[in-house]
Symmetry: C2
Subunit: 318 residues, 2 copies
């Protein structure tokens, strides 16, 4: 028996998420290259450095590109780990690196984010993935892994094929727990129930952590009401969630250490945020199905106004 050659992997967007999951695949024996834009020089010299409660997860990528245009060899798996932002055409961004057999693995937040990629390359090319992890970029080429790491994978829009199963096997071999889902879009809605409630509300509350947001009766009631509105939209989209989903989320969030999501930090630093992927697309689905979501719309508009106001303050006077 001859051994199969190692899988090739290209991480597009070697920030915190991309670095962490690229590192896992590297440990599993895959040949991992990265597109790192402004950090490319530092990473070529020092590799990607990752400190983690699991130990030192640093690794040296096979190749380090400053842009996707430089990629000559299409990978088996292209991990897309950029933020999902309005006005960024992700399908065009990855085009130079997508070969005939490349599977595109979306490790990104939000609802409806597969459509653009699936329309350009076909459903069968898309693996949709959800990362449950606390990880942040601490300096160019340097990442701090705080906690968790589970990745859930599935074919888009449903099912699990051999290639997806093989990728999950690689993550597991690299010491990162991976689970497979036959209904990844439903899983995406489940995760969005949490994110769409907590992330924008944290932004409005000045970057409050989960302990503050659940710290009063009215706060918990609002979080539950926001989650309930997302659940109603999910059900209308054909992804009904278990009746105790909200209770489960509230209970498990109270047990976690207080968690501060990155949306508020990004916004304060003038970085773009994934408001539409996480919340705007939920509102679009609500409109399509005629589901009233007054609280989600209020929160969404308030965050948009906050962003507009910050932009105005950052603008030079004149």
């Amino acid at each position: 028996m001859t051994q199969a050659p190692p899988s090739t992997v290209l991480v597009v967007g070697a920030g915190a998420i991309g670095s962490f999951y690229g590192s896992a695949l590297h440990r599993a024996g895959a040949r991992v290259s990265v597109v790192a834009r402004s950090d490319a020089g530092v990473i070529r010299e020092h590799g990607i450095r990752i400190s983690s409660p699991l130990g030192d997860l640093s690794f040296k990528p096979e190749r380090v590109y400053a842009s996707v245009e430089e990629v000559t060899e299409p990978p088996d798996y292209l991990l897309l780990t950029t933020k999902v932002l309005d006005g960024v055409n992700r399908a065009a961004l990855i085009k130079p690196a997508v070969g005939k057999h490349t599977r595109i693995v979306l490790i990104q937040n939000g609802i409806g984010i597969e459509d653009e990629i699936a329309q350009a390359y076909g459903n069968q090319r898309v693996i949709s993935a959800l990362a449950f992890i606390g990880v942040s970029r601490s300096a160019p080429g340097q990442v701090t892994h705080h906690a968790y790491g589970l990745i859930t994978l599935g074919n888009y829009p449903q099912g699990v094929d051999e290639s997806t199963r093989a990728l999950a096997g690689l993550f597991t071999a690299g010491s990162v727990p991976a689970s497979l889902s036959e209904e990844i879009v439903g899983e995406r809605w489940r995760k969005t129930v949490w994110n769409a409630a907590f992330n924008p509300l944290s932004v409005l509350a000045g970057g409050a952590d989960t302990a503050v947001l659940l710290g009063t009766e009215a706060g918990e009631a609002l979080v539950r009401a926001l989650m309930d509105e997302v659940c109603q939209v999910a059900a209308a989209e054909g992804h009904a969630l278990p009746s105790d989903q909200i209770a489960q989320y509230i209970a498990s969030t109270k047990q976690m250490p207080p968690y501060r999501n990155s949306m508020a930090l990004d916004l304060k630093a003038g970085r773009p945020v994934e408001l539409d992927a996480i919340l705007g697309n939920v509102l679009e689905a609500a409109t399509r199905h005629g589901v009233p979501v007054p609280r989600l719309r209020t929160v969404h508009t308030a965050v948009e106004l906050l962003i507009a106001n910050l932009r105005g303050e950052h603008k030079p006077a004149g």
Copy 2:
């Protein structure tokens, strides 16, 4: 004919509002004294200095007290111009200065703010007043009047008697336009439609002014929806507002120069804000009448969480 002696006036809370309206009554010939707490020393020495587009409105109060306890002569009119804050017993605060014939004039924002005073001293002692003015305290004993100044007065809970009419006459004689309302509580609801929509939303949007809040379609839609919820509560309370009230407010606000309310500034500076007088009491009325107000509740809770988060940040670690 003998001339009536000049009216005596005591301003409790000589901040921006109290100073401005006290100055008008002084110009009209009333004997105006003030309770100024921390600014008492400065005001004793220099008087109250008010710069205004109308000219220099500075005046020297007859007496300057550092606390209500020092007051020996109960005034004809006691102008209460403090903020309306949770945990402050306003009826007890003014007690030492309320004589048998003193009329208590509430120049304060919010809904339901007369009850506490009326219960302590009787309805017939209360004059309820609404100030439409842009004015701010620039330094101890110094006030800047930016624009407007109209004051609307009425007996509580309704009607207009001679004493209220006489006070309106004094304001007019002091060059401040005053109007009388037979239904001052309805007027209070009308003003709250504007304040309850704009003030807390501005806070959430980082201190955005009216131009930013009305600067997008979604922003204007949210402001209108918040106003509509307040109108529904007002109607349930027996104070139905004209059907074009919201359209009027949107149109007139767009014509004003961009206006930034003080709630956001106060909050950033760690000063208490009148959230309950302006919004919390509307929510209580909504609960009493079973009127659903999901957007107002969302905004209210989000501001409460922001305040809780700021308190946590200001708290020393440990």
